[in-house]
């Protein structure tokens, strides 16, 4: 296997591991917050349903966390195994947030262990809820720290390269790079949004399958409310991400928007296909891109003509961008309609087809997450560290990457199927109605 091959297979393996990890990681970041909110509402309203909701979500959550942890360990080691040259540089410049991330992991893992094994230990539910705070904080901080590393890859700073030597390293400057604020905020908020819609899918699915229990209705209403809040936040912060790109990574924005010529008053191109360098069937919003990039319809937006050919990222990221934004807008719309409709008692809210749309909300958010990361990472190409190190120079020279790719692909297949199967079985075997009845019987037993 030549070096070109190991670069290729290293890329595929990285893509595969990250795309798999991110599903579980996103759920791992967002769901603790949802559990916290449900348990808190339950305590406030003294409503057994919300507490049970929190409890059942927790049971599912430990399964997704487990897969998150093992795939995270895999990607953590793979970064050094597949990109040794990059990691040597990264170790010198951006190791601080990576290192802090391990403390966030510790914090989360310890308190998660405590939280799940102390459900009935405290008389006062509030005390138990307190144990969840470090879990949620730890999870969100894992996301914050790792995203800072990724932001650094997009906008490296905090060191100087003099004759190939690293000098003037400043770990804090490296962490607080220009990409960091919008990227961290967008990643964290999209994780919350995704978790809300994934949990909403479950509630909607149960209602579709004939259950008419109050429990599922409450669950659906709560998660759709949260979904609306976080999806609006996502769109707002996504807009900031666009403005960041215009300022610091214009080639990525230009490639994502198929913006070829630098011009003032640039239109926004939505959808469409690229045919021999010509954009076809696209929707053109006049002045749209200038507004998106600089909040000013007459602002000049840099186009791809300003870059040499080998520095332009693949143009297919346009489709990824459109997919992500469309899903974001759609879910804002869907959750808004649902909430207004519930309030106004519009009958179609309770129809089968509408519930199916809500079931699809969860998978759609996950697709948006994947599209967003692919946009971000492919849009950075050909650089692994923008402007400093090319991806092809970062990879290992080892000859066995292709075999490892097959092994890991098999592993993820097993983990994916295994976790889906276990989750499915868990909720099938122990329906809410049954559990509520059991708990009521337990309580009655205690009284005697």
């Amino acid at each position: 296997m030549g070096n070109g091959d190991s670069v290729f297979f290293s890329r595929v393996l990285t893509e595969l591991t990250l795309s798999f990890h991110i599903i579980y990681a996103t759920i791992g970041v967002g769901v603790p917050l949802m559990i916290m909110i449900a348990q808190w509402v339950g305590i406030k309203k003294n409503d057994e349903h919300y507490i049970l909701l929190a409890r059942r979500w927790t049971r599912g959550f430990v399964i997704t966390v487990a897969v998150g942890v093992v795939t995270g360990t895999a990607i953590g080691l793979q970064l050094s195994l597949l990109w040794p040259n990059f990691m040597e540089l990264a170790g010198n410049t951006i190791a601080l947030p990576l290192f802090m991330e391990t403390f966030a992991f510790f914090f989360e893992a310890i308190f998660l262990g405590i939280y799940i094994y102390t459900w009935d230990r405290f008389k006062n539910q509030k005390k138990h809820l307190l144990l969840l705070i470090p879990v949620a904080l730890g999870a969100s901080f894992s996301a914050i720290f790792i995203t800072i590393v990724n932001a650094f890859m997009n906008a490296p700073q905090g060191f100087d390269l003099v004759n190939g030597e690293l000098v003037n390293v400043s770990p804090l400057l490296a962490m607080f790079n220009p990409a960091m604020p919008s990227k961290v905020a967008h990643v964290v908020v999209t994780a919350y949004m995704t978790s809300a819609f994934v949990l909403a899918s479950i509630g909607a699915f149960r209602l579709l399958k004939g259950s008419n229990h109050e429990y599922h209705k409450k669950a659906l209403l709560l998660t759709m409310k949260l979904g609306l809040i976080f999806s609006i936040a996502t769109a707002v912060i996504g807009d900031f991400s666009g403005k960041y790109l215009a300022e610091y990574q214009p080639e990525k924005l230009a490639a994502a928007e198929w913006h070829f010529e630098t011009e003032a008053g640039a239109p926004l191109i939505l959808y469409g296909v690229l045919d021999n360098g010509e954009v076809k069937y696209a929707l053109k919003v006049p002045f749209g891109l200038s507004i998106l990039a600089h909040s000013n319809p007459n602002a000049k937006v840099i186009g791809l003509d300003q870059f040499s050919k080998e520095d332009v990222p693949p143009l297919y990221i346009h489709y990824l961008f459109d997919l992500m934004v469309t899903i974001g807008m759609w879910l804002i719309f869907l959750s808004l309609v649902y909430l207004v409709g519930t309030w106004k008692k519009w009958p179609f809210i309770f129809s089968k087809w509408f519930r199916w749309l809500m079931v699809l909300g969860g998978p759609f958010s996950i697709i948006a997450i994947e599209a967003g990361w692919w946009l971000d990472e492919v849009g950075r190409q050909p650089w692994v560290l923008r402007g400093i190190m090319r991806t092809k120079d970062a990879a290992t020279a080892s000859g066995h990457v292709d075999t490892m790719l097959w092994l890991f692909a098999g592993l993820y297949l097993i983990l994916g199927i295994g976790s889906a199967f276990v989750l499915w079985r868990m909720f099938r075997k122990n329906p809410v109605e049954q559990e509520l009845a059991d708990r009521a019987a337990d309580k009655a037993g205690d009284m005697k």
Binding site: T73, E88, A109, P134, P171, L407, V422, R425
Partner: protein, 341 residues
Amino acid sequence: MTLEILGITVLGVFLFGYIIIASIDFGAGFFNAFSTVTGKEHILTKVIQRYLSPVWEVTNVFLVFFFVGIIGFFPKTAYYYGSTLLVPVSIAVILLAIRGAYYAFTTYGGLKHKRYTILYGLTGLFIPASLSIVLTISEGGFVTMEKSGPVLDYWALFTSPLSWSIVVLSLTSVLYISAVFLTWYAQKAKDRAAANLLRKYALVWAGPAIITATGIIVEMKDHNPEHYQRLVDVWWLFGLSVILFAGTVFLLWKRLAYGLAFGLLTGQFTFAFLAYGISHYPYLMYPYLTIYDSFTNKAMATALVIAFIAGLCLLLPSLYLLLRLFLFNKDYVQGNRNDHA
């Protein structure tokens, strides 16, 4: 103390922590499987699962801490070890993943099957075996520098007596450490039958553990005379280690103070680990990489140390809470409480 020494000490502490708690975990899985095969599962399974359940993720983080930390403090290790370890570490990762996920699926997800229990137990042996290769490689002689970078000579590795002795040592230590700890734990759980059986396992594995450890020192003489000489220089640390070993065996034999026995065992491994670490100094990989030429820049090192101290302030109280609630909580250990979500 220089920053280099401070860095390697921090990493050493966490590596040692991982070795001990992961050994307990790996061994427990193996004994669990073994008892299933030999029809004694009713004796062991409960005790073992009660201990393992709340801690497996924490165990994993120790490993993550070590490999993230070493890239931070000694970035060149990414280049030397990253380029050479692709195959052995990938295999270890896959096994770890299967193990962790399967564990979660069974305990939280209620999936149960004898075949899987056995598979799970076996991964507990293969993982330490594959991870121990890292130690072997660090002794030098298996990596050559080519134009494309460092390359691992698999043939030399697989035919070297040293690498096989290290594999065997990792297995015997895992079983020994785990059995001693679980004896104590079963005792606390007031589970007589389990404690007796585990005590027997502990005594069975004590001999092989010490013999293989000694064997390695002998192998080293041929393989890496420089390291051997430095090992001999710290003979007194090994001496202390052997004395503590004798103490553990004595207590187990006499059925006395199992808690103390585990304490002595920890001491034994601490001294042996120290002796190994000190004699390995300053090399991270013979003869290419020392802690000095691989060290990160000063600014990063200082930042990492500060982050480490701050992190520790967060970590130690939390770990204490975890231990108090599960390891040292009578009701939990004895199985009177099970407040699982």
